[in-house]
């Protein structure tokens, strides 16, 4: 019974915590530019994420080690540093985008420019991590994040042509703007398959003290949670297709985003969008900040746990403080949050191989996985993802130049 409740909570937190500025923005751009044609990209990203997250959870449950722990232990200190530097740089950009998302949501409500909110928001994030425990943060942010279900409601209320929507689940080629089309595909995949999501999931599993008895729970949570979350992303695309495309509005500036829910909900649509964006991004900033700090702490072997008092993990506390400051800095200097989002999502896609290649080895390592090593299907999917991400890594830069709008 207790396990069933945990599974339910796990699914709920996965759904509530799924959307953030990357998935919202890329889905909005996809819908506004290509109607329902890009639904397949979101589904593909979601499917890959399901497999990766399930495996991260399994690794943590069986070995009681996180992905970062295992990468250092199995591949050595030098590879860990290489991974840390590359992932941290990219994830830091994503953090800047998410903090920007919270600030932009506050700008929508108050009319005060997003840059002014960077410092107060950073302080809020810091306070929550300083004082909060892991479950408080994770569960709290995700339950509040359920407000994002409003996108699904909006998609239904707007009566899309469901047959056309279903067609969008299959890949089709665009009639024009090919570079732009593929650029959005790359950003959608980068937004869906964020390395920090996998890493954070394994850290969370260890924080929650999962063991081998959680293998089935893990499967349920990862599959159902990520699936429902993916449905929300698709909903954002559908809404955008119905709201922006007929009017000829290209989603190129963050101020165009809140208009998305007005057709469906009027004034409350505007408010709901701001609330959804703000809460979803706040949740993401907490996860990202913690995950970078976890990567550092786990790789160096420090004591780490969100559930301990800061004085008991002084180095860990220092690291996340510095991370928040750096992330906030990106917003304070006025980098456009939308542009930062799209850029960081594409860059994420390009750097995925660095994390996923070692991950494949770990999932087949008997010392870590015992008898729960990857089966043929899981390995096949990861190999496919590696292949796909290498292609993404190569095409991202040219596409950014020619298709980035």
């Amino acid at each position: 019974m207790k396990k069933a409740l945990e599974i339910a909570l796990g699914i709920v937190t996965s759904v509530g915590g799924f959307l953030e500025i990357g998935s919202i923005t890329t889905a909005a751009q996809g819908g506004a530019s290509f109607r329902f044609q890009l639904i397949w990209a979101i589904l593909l990203g979601g499917l890959c994420l399901i497999f990766l997250v399930e495996q991260s959870g399994r690794l943590a449950a069986v070995s009681r080690h996180t992905i970062t722990d295992a990468i250092r232990e199995r591949f050595g200190f030098n590879y860990f540093i290489f991974l840390l530097i590359i992932l941290s740089l990219v994830i830091l950009l994503v953090l800047g985008a998410e903090i920007g998302g919270v600030c932009v949501a506050l700008e929508f409500i108050t009319g005060v420019g997003f840059q002014w909110w960077a410092v107060p928001v950073a302080l809020l994030i810091w306070l929550i991590i300083w004082k909060g425990t892991f479950s408080f943060i994770e569960d709290g942010a995700s339950i509040l994040g359920l407000v994002t279900v409003c996108f699904l409601v909006a998609a239904i209320v707007l009566h899309p042509p469901w047959k056309e929507v279903a067609h969008g689940a299959l890949p089709t080629l665009p009639a024009s703007d090919k570079a732009h089309y593929w650029f959005i595909v790359v950003s959608i995949l980068g937004a869906s398959i964020s390395p920090y999501l996998m890493f954070f999931y394994s850290s969370g599993a260890v924080e929650d003290k999962w063991d081998e008895s959680y293998i089935n729970a893990n499967r349920a949570i990862s599959v159902l949670g990520m699936s429902f979350g993916t449905v929300l992303s698709v909903a954002v695309l559908i809404v955008s297709a119905l709201v922006y495309l007929p009017r000829g509005i290209q989603v190129e500036h963050y101020s165009q985003l809140p208009l998305m829910l007005i057709d469906a909900f009027g004034y409350w649509g505007f408010i709901l969008f701001a609330a959804s964006l703000g809460i979803a991004c706040l949740g993401a900033t907490l996860e990202i900040t913690l995950e970078i700090a976890y990567m550092v702490a786990q790789g160096f072997g420090w004591n780490w746990s969100e559930n301990q008092r800061p004085r008991e993990e002084a180095r860990f506390s220092l690291v996340y403080t510095v991370i928040i400051i750096l992330g906030a800095l990106l917003v304070v200097v006025g980098i456009d949050p939308l542009k930062l989002t799209i850029f960081s999502m594409a860059l994420t896609a390009a750097t995925l191989p660095v994390a996923i290649v070692p991950f494949l080895f770990l999932m087949n390592d008997e010392a870590y996985m015992h008898e729960h090593r990857n089966g043929f299907l899981s390995n096949a999917v990861v190999i496919f993802i590696i292949g796909m991400t290498f292609v993404l890594a190569v095409v991202t830069i040219p596409l950014e130049i020619f298709g980035g709008g």
């Binding site: 700008e107 929508f108 409500i109 108050t110 009319g111 005060v112 420019g113 009017r247 000829g248 509005i249 290209q250 190129e252 500036h253 101020s255 165009q256 809140p258 208009l259 007005i262 009027g266 004034y267 649509g269 505007f270 040219p398 130049i401 020619f402």
Partner: protein
């Protein structure tokens, strides 16, 4: 020593081959990216239409109390800025015929004016005259859209 010379020669040849490859790659990429002047104008005008439509949607929403004043003001400001940016981009594109350039810039200037008015009205909390401006926006927007449609039907 013969062995070392061969290695130097080999790496030298490799360097040259690599540079040649890079050059070909860059040239082909440049070739792919070069749009016709008509395409370029079309692309910029789509952005202009996008901002016109955004401003109209915000204006109409504001009239019906569906968005907050602060947000509307900032969006009109962003629209104005981006329209200016588009005007500058079109101005710099020497390969677009001067006549078309001038026509586009005139349309953008009119839009800029309307959006500017909307911004001051919102800041001054003068919502009464909004509808007139929003109507004008609609007119400009429709004319731009039909000219875009006309363009795309031409060879």
């Amino acid at each position: 020593m013969p062995v070392m010379l061969n290695e130097t020669e080999r790496s030298c040849a490799k360097n040259i081959r690599l540079r040649l490859l890079l050059l070909i790659l860059l040239a082909s990429l440049a070739a792919c990216s070069s749009q016709s002047p008509a395409d370029k104008l079309h692309k910029e005008l789509r952005t202009v239409v996008s901002w016109a439509a955004t401003s109209r949607m915000v204006g109409e929403a504001l009239q019906n109390g569906k968005v907050l004043q602060g947000y509307a003001a900032r969006t009109f400001e962003a629209a104005g800025r981006n329209l200016q940016e588009e005007s500058r981009t079109i101005d710099k594109s020497a390969d677009i015929p001067a006549e078309e350039r001038a026509g586009a810039q005139a349309q953008i200037a009119r839009l800029e004016q309307i959006v500017g008015q909307l911004k001051s009205m919102v800041e001054g909390k003068d919502n009464a005259a909004l509808s007139q401006q929003v109507e004008q926006l609609k007119v400009e927007e429709q004319s731009l859209k039909s000219s875009l449609r006309g363009d795309s039907s031409q060879p």
